[in-house]
């Protein structure tokens, strides 16, 4: 029989694993220290700095496009904050959320366009839109009393789909009391020439005005959300999202709160929809289909469900990144920078970095020689091989004559290689890394650059997969840890 001497607490007192968990919560390293320093700032500063930057954008020589992206981002943020109440807090997987956005947009268009000859004052129209959308949200929330989890998600998803079908096909609705079929929604053509917002004599007729309006709305929504977060309602919502049954036993009227979440979320979405309709001066059914739902969900989950900064960041990523990728001149740089930084961050060793990059450079020339030796015809100059180094660069990444075919092969090879590499040990990965890096650049230059629009979508898809795999809880999300 033996007793470990260093044991001092005596047998039978064991809270140690959990304390370990508590300690592990605190991060280590540079990032954590920067994070802590940032969190140490007063919250007014933490929120104020980004806000100031955002407000200054229009005055720093930006153009309509940037403002328009800003407007889209603002609408997105409103949607994401609204959805966060429903999904992030209450844990209700509402996949019909986009229908509320669409409903708001269509309702505004119906009240302020030639469709029915109505041109209601904006404020009145918006109030009507928000109230009706909220009522619509309440109605769609009713099944949440009976359906939970995936099944609620499915039912709401179909509601969302039905909305689009209904909008597309309601351009010739025959009411029994009318002689002629009536055009309610403009069908596939949607409704155009929707009035712009006009409040107290001020007409929102420029991107700048909408941009500033949205900043105000997003700030208000963020402040409200933050206040709700720690309030009795916020806690009640979060509790029912955690464990609806336990919440009921803790005096929380779950049904009512679920409906409230649905209603409130819908109201916010309706407001965003109305603004969207007036920014665009039109509504079209194709906007409110699955891709938008995907983007909005990606935004809230990417950032970290239930976390306000996470929602804001996620929405920003999902709005700005795809736009950046539209332009080859940016996406090129983005690609190279991500590739290089990613490699450096993966290697975490100043000795390995030059070795890997040297290997990458060597492999290009080796490939060049091999391809020549086996007689693959090619043209040397790639578009980006400019300047004095052009010939060297040109024979490092060469352009094959059969650019599409070889590019496709390279693409498939790259996907397979990256996937395969993720299964290997670090050691083997590092050995293969130069080859894969070169193949990535080769594929990019030979094939992906040729189709920027497709590449953009490919990258967004890959990004979602990679981000989820590396950080399933989202960027700012806290992991759910189960100790033992």
């Amino acid at each position: 029989m033996s007793t470990t001497p260093e044991d001092s607490r005596g047998i039978g007192t064991d809270e140690w694993v959990a304390q370990h968990g508590e300690r592990a919560q605190r991060g280590t390293g540079l990032y954590a220290r920067i994070g802590e320093a940032w969190m140490g700032l007063p919250s007014l500063v933490r929120w104020g700095i980004p806000l100031l930057l955002v407000v200054l954008v229009p005055f720093a020589g930006s153009n309509d496009y940037i403002l328009r992206i800003g407007i889209n981002l603002g609408l997105f943020l409103l949607l994401a904050l609204g959805l966060n109440l429903v999904v992030g807090y209450s844990g209700l997987l509402d996949l019909g959320f986009i229908a509320f956005y669409g409903f708001g947009a269509y309702a505004y268009a119906a009240l302020a366009s030639e469709q029915f000859g109505l041109h209601l004052p904006s404020l009145l129209a918006i109030v009507i839109v928000v109230v009706t959308t909220a009522a619509f949200g309440f109605t769609l929330g009713l099944p949440s009393r009976r359906l939970t989890g995936d099944y609620l998600a499915i039912a709401t998803l179909f509601f969302g789909q039905m909305f689009v079908v209904l909008m597309v096909s309601s351009d010739a609705v025959q009411f029994p009391w009318m002689d002629e079929p009536m055009d309610l929604t403009g069908g596939a053509n949607g409704i155009s020439n929707v009035d712009q917002l006009s409040v107290l004599g001020f007409t929102f007729d420029s991107n700048l005005s909408y941009y500033l309006l949205l900043i105000v709305l997003v700030v208000l929504a963020t402040v409200a959300t933050k206040r709700i977060h720690f309030s009795r309602h916020g806690l009640a919502w979060r509790s029912l999202g955690e464990d609806s049954l336990a919440a009921q036993h803790m005096t929380i009227p779950t049904v009512r709160l679920k409906l409230l979440a649905f209603t409130l979320g819908a109201g916010i979405a309706g407001l965003a929809g109305a603004i969207f309709a007036s920014v665009q001066q039109g509504v079209y059914p194709s906007t409110f289909e699955l891709p938008l739902l995907i983007t909005i969900y990606a935004a809230i989950i990417l950032g970290g469900l239930g976390s306000i900064p996470g929602v804001l960041l996620g929405a920003a990523i999902m709005t700005i990144l795809p736009e950046l990728l539209r332009f080859p001149e940016y996406s090129n740089w983005l690609f190279l920078v991500v590739l290089i930084l990613g490699t450096i961050m993966y290697l975490k060793s100043w000795k390995l970095v030059p070795a890997v990059f040297a290997g990458m450079i060597a492999i290009g020339f080796i490939a060049n020689v091999i391809f020549l030796a086996i007689g693959v015809p090619y043209l040397t100059t790639a578009e980006w091989a400019k300047g004095p180094l052009a010939p060297v660069l040109g024979s490092w990444i060469f352009m094959p004559e059969e650019r599409v075919l070889i590019g496709n092969i390279a693409f498939v090879a790259l996907v397979v290689a990256v996937a395969w590499m993720s299964l290997l040990t670090r050691r083997t990965t590092i050995i293969l890394l130069p080859f894969v890096l070169w193949l990535a650049i080769f594929t990019w230059e030979v094939r992906l650059m040729l189709e920027p629009s497709i590449t953009r979508q490919l990258l967004v898809g890959a990004l979602l997969v990679v981000l989820m795999a590396t950080r399933p809880q989202g960027i700012f999300g806290k992991p759910r840890v189960e100790v033992l």
Binding site: V17, A18, E22, A247, T251, E482
Partner: protein, 273 residues
Amino acid sequence: MMSGSPESESNPTPALELIDITKRFGGLTSLDALSLAVAPSEILSVIGPNGAGKTTFFNVITGVYTPDEGDVLLFGESIRGVDPHKVARRGVARTFQNVRLFQNLTVRENITAAMYGRTNASLFDIVFRTPRARREERENEERVLDALSFFGTRLQGYRLDQPAYSLSYANRRRLEVARAMATGASVLLLDEPAAGMNPKETQEITEIIGRLRDERSYTIVVIEHDMHVVEGVSDRVIALDHGVKIAEGSFEDVATHPAVIEAYLGRGSAARK
């Protein structure tokens, strides 16, 4: 069958009373014409083999299930078929056999969440931070500390802002009790409060249950397998088997009752204890 305990005779309105409660699931009768009464500030323990209907008994009281027959009275008023959150508001709070905390909420938030029924701030109050909202916030803060003070320093200090999942198992059980207290209930239903605790912790929770009655006058119903706890806290013990009350009375009476030994305790238990 044992006769009703003297406490319930001396007190005209029991805190909690079940009258001929029957609950069936399909062909299975989980509770069979069960009647019992709990006097205010009494600790009643319910024991019985797995599947005896103990948890169903809690679920019928708290409104998760509506009994097929019979009535449940809380201080003389029927709460049969009332929604769980309303039952809780009327003063019945519970803990769960398998600990159902709001795992990703902090200790403080877990307790504050349970005060929903005692607070009134509307969303408007909250968003615009009206005086009412601020006042409630302060009150909540005090109540949190008050509920936690019951457990010494176990759940205080830095632990207040730790998520519930990071707590040790025993602390989670404690937090669940504190959360139930925070609802403002006067009747606590504790489902195996000592399960998975080591002997020291078991002893501690036994003391706490006693103090809950002595210091705060809670009426408490405990489901427990650990006979040390049952012995330590009970004013009265009820043994259930197949939804039927097979014995009732003091711990000694029940523990030595042949039917209880047959169905639940086993012959060796008395010898070993």
